[in-house]
């Protein structure tokens, strides 16, 4: 019992020590600082071969930079490869690091004052990182919507072609991190009213939706395109499997679904308008 306690205390001590090491700033750790200096010196030396970077908007951009890189590659192929390799190492180990050691600042401090920004301009030219903005779509939590659809119950057969209309209400749960958007999956369930020719059915409808992509041009985010599949049943003579695509523009949406009537074995379709598509407001 006493021995187990000692093991437990030793483990807790080790955990505390690991945590303390993880919190130490990179420049306060000899190995990390040495690595930052090694990479900063190396990239500064290699960028020195390329000379002055021509910034965006200046005459000769980007041709001057491209020709400098091409000339560097032609004259010193090994150094050119080393240049690209070092940029990858700097990116992974320092610039894009998400740890708590402030590695970016430590690397920044190892760059020479008079040429550091020119070196970084070449690094960024090669990295060519585009800004990433989070998606506005598929926000986590509960939503509700009303959907009105109409189409044909059997569009492949002229003989059996019949009107099909639906009014459905859905409760939606979207999977995403708390208070965040950009999820991929939603589950939907709710009651429906279907009109098949002149026969009405009350149904229970379920659906799964998967976000395929967003409709956005920075800074404007308009909506998303999603794929869905579902099942609508009256638990009697009305039984439809559906699959389709939807364009969702905020509170408004449009979808097109192919339906398979599992009772009569025939294909139909529905075009729908999504309305009142909104989050549940917390009271």
């Amino acid at each position: 019992m006493f021995r187990n306690k000692r093991i437990l205390l030793a483990s807790l001590g080790l955990l505390f020590l690991c945590n303390a090491i993880a919190q130490t700033s990179c420049c306060d750790e000899a190995v990390c600082k040495q690595r930052a200096k090694e990479l900063a010196d190396k990239i500064s030396g290699l960028a020195g071969f390329l000379g002055k970077f021509t910034p965006f908007g200046s005459p000769g951009y980007p041709q001057k930079n491209d020709s400098s890189l091409a000339e560097f590659k032609r004259q010193f192929p090994d150094r050119f490869n080393d240049f690209n390799k070092t940029i990858k190492e700097i990116s992974v180990e320092f610039i894009d690091d998400r740890g708590t050691q402030n590695k970016q600042l430590c690397f920044s401090d190892q760059l020479p004052t008079n040429t550091g920004d020119n070196t970084m301009a070449w690094v960024n030219y090669i990295r060519d990182v585009k800004p990433v903005f989070p998606s506005t779509e598929f926000c986590g939590g509960l939503k509700k919507r009303i959907e009105i659809s109409q189409g044909s119950a059997a569009f492949l057969s002229k003989k059996n072609m019949a009107y099909l209309g639906a009014l459905r209400g859905y409760l939606i749960y979207q999977f995403a991190k708390k208070d965040e958007c950009g999820g991929r999956l939603r589950l939907m369930v709710g009651p429906g009213f279907f009109l098949h020719s002149s026969t009405a059915y009350i149904t229970l409808d379920s659906r799964i939706g998967i976000r395929i992509g967003d409709i956005a041009k920075e800074p404007f985010h308009l909506g998303n395109i999603n794929f869905f599949a579902g099942y609508n049943s009256s638990f009697g003579h009305f039984s439809y499997v559906e699959t389709g695509f939807e364009v969702e523009l905020g509170w408004l949406g449009f979808n097109l679904a192919a339906n398979y009537d599992t009772y009569h074995y025939r294909w139909g379709f529905l075009t729908g308008i999504v309305l009142a598509n909104s989050k549940f407001k917390k009271q």
């Binding site: 910034p55 965006f56 908007g57 200046s58 990116s91 610039i95 894009d96 402030n102 970016q104 600042l105 690397f107 920044s108 760059l111 004052t113 008079n114 550091g116 920004d117 070196t119 970084m120 301009a121 690094v123 960024n124 990295r127 990182v129 800004p131 990433v132 903005f133 989070p134 998606s135 506005t136 779509e137 208070d179 958007c181 956005a216 041009k217 800074p219 404007f220 985010h221 308009l222 909506g223 523009l249 905020g250 509170w251 408004l252």
Partner: protein, 323 residues
């Protein structure tokens, strides 16, 4: 008086942080009597007032767009009465974490008078939020910060670019970025300087002196024209702001109460537009911010070496100062 003025510019604020790091680490300049900041410069000003430049540097070098902006669905924004394209709740969280109660107390207890400005949508006027009493002037309204909540809201108000980000409600007004009327916040500074003492003023602008020219470029997209119009507007505002300081320098030299009194003004700005592709400053990309921080350090080093008595006003030869 030792004064720091930090301008707006979003992610380009990394340039200001680079200047401040050089000033603190290499020259030991980190205590100021008065700091005036706009937008990203207000965020910088708050930690600069307690000399915590390392935290500032780490904030900039660790921030991405997702850490501060949450895009707003445009359809919902139009229909739902949300007049902005980005929600800044994540930025609010960042400020809340970095200006914790202890940091806030340090700022309020420091000897530095901290000012940051925002523009009221209702009055259209600049409001200067200050940590201590400051001189009143006809060019701006004043509000004294009384709580951490007010401090955070005022910081956010100063930072939130109108239309792009959500206005911030404080009291009965909705506030947006102070840069709408004052990008380099000089007015509150000149109102608080006297002619009976020496002054050292450090002005950091995250934008270059001249607007970038694009000869032959065809402007066929609404967004391109809009961004270009914003750039021209910001350029005009900052030129006016600098002229205010240039005029005060002339006034000081003519009216100083002893011949040996001096006013040294150091002006730091990049040679080129740091991010012409995203000139509103909304590209928070770590590699680029690291580059801009290095630019700030280099420019500061060059200016302190070349002009130990200050380098401002320094006007374009074709455009001499109006005094």
């Amino acid at each position: 008086m030792k004064v720091l003025i930090t301008s707006g510019g979003g992610a380009k604020g990394a340039f200001s942080v680079g200047v401040l790091r050089h000033m603190k680490d290499d020259l030991g300049i980190s205590n100021f009597d008065l700091i005036s900041g706009t937008s990203t410069g207000a965020l910088i000003a708050s930690l600069a007032s307690i000399g915590d430049i390392n935290t500032l540097a780490n904030i900039y070098l660790n921030t991405t767009n997702a850490d501060i902006l949450k895009p707003q669905n445009l359809v919902d924004a139009i229909v739902g009465g949300k007049p902005f394209v980005y929600n800044t709740d994540p930025l609010m969280k960042q400020i809340d974490q970095n200006i914790n109660p202890a940091t806030f107390q340090s700022i309020m207890n420091s000897n530095c008078t901290l000012c940051f400005n925002a523009v009221s949508l209702q009055s259209g006027r600049v409001t200067v939020f200050a940590t201590k009493n400051i001189a009143q002037a006809s060019q701006y309204d004043t509000k004294i910060i009384t709580s951490r909540d007010m401090f955070i809201k005022a910081l956010l108000a100063s930072s939130n670019q109108a239309v792009f980000m959500n206005p911030i409600n404080i009291g009965s007004d909705d506030y947006v970025d102070g840069g709408n009327r004052e990008v380099v916040p000089t007015r509150v500074v000149v109102q608080n300087l006297d002619t009976d003492e020496n002054h050292e003023v450090y002005i950091i602008s995250n934008n270059p002196n001249d607007l970038l020219q694009f000869p032959g470029k065809k402007y066929s997209s609404i967004l391109d024209v809009l961004i270009r119009a914003i750039n021209m507007f910001v350029q005009e505002v900052r030129e006016n702001d600098l002229e205010v300081m240039a005029k005060y320098k002339t006034f000081f030299d003519l009216n100083k109460q002893a011949p040996n009194l001096k006013m040294k003004i150091f002006y730091f700005c990049p040679e080129f537009d740091l991010d012409p592709e995203f000139s509103t400053g909304l590209r928070f990309e770590r590699g680029r911010m690291l580059q801009w921080m290095s630019t700030g350090k280099r420019i500061a080093d060059q200016i302190f070496q070349a002009s130990p008595n200050g380098n401002f006003p320094m006007f374009h030869p074709a455009n001499p100062p109006i005094v």
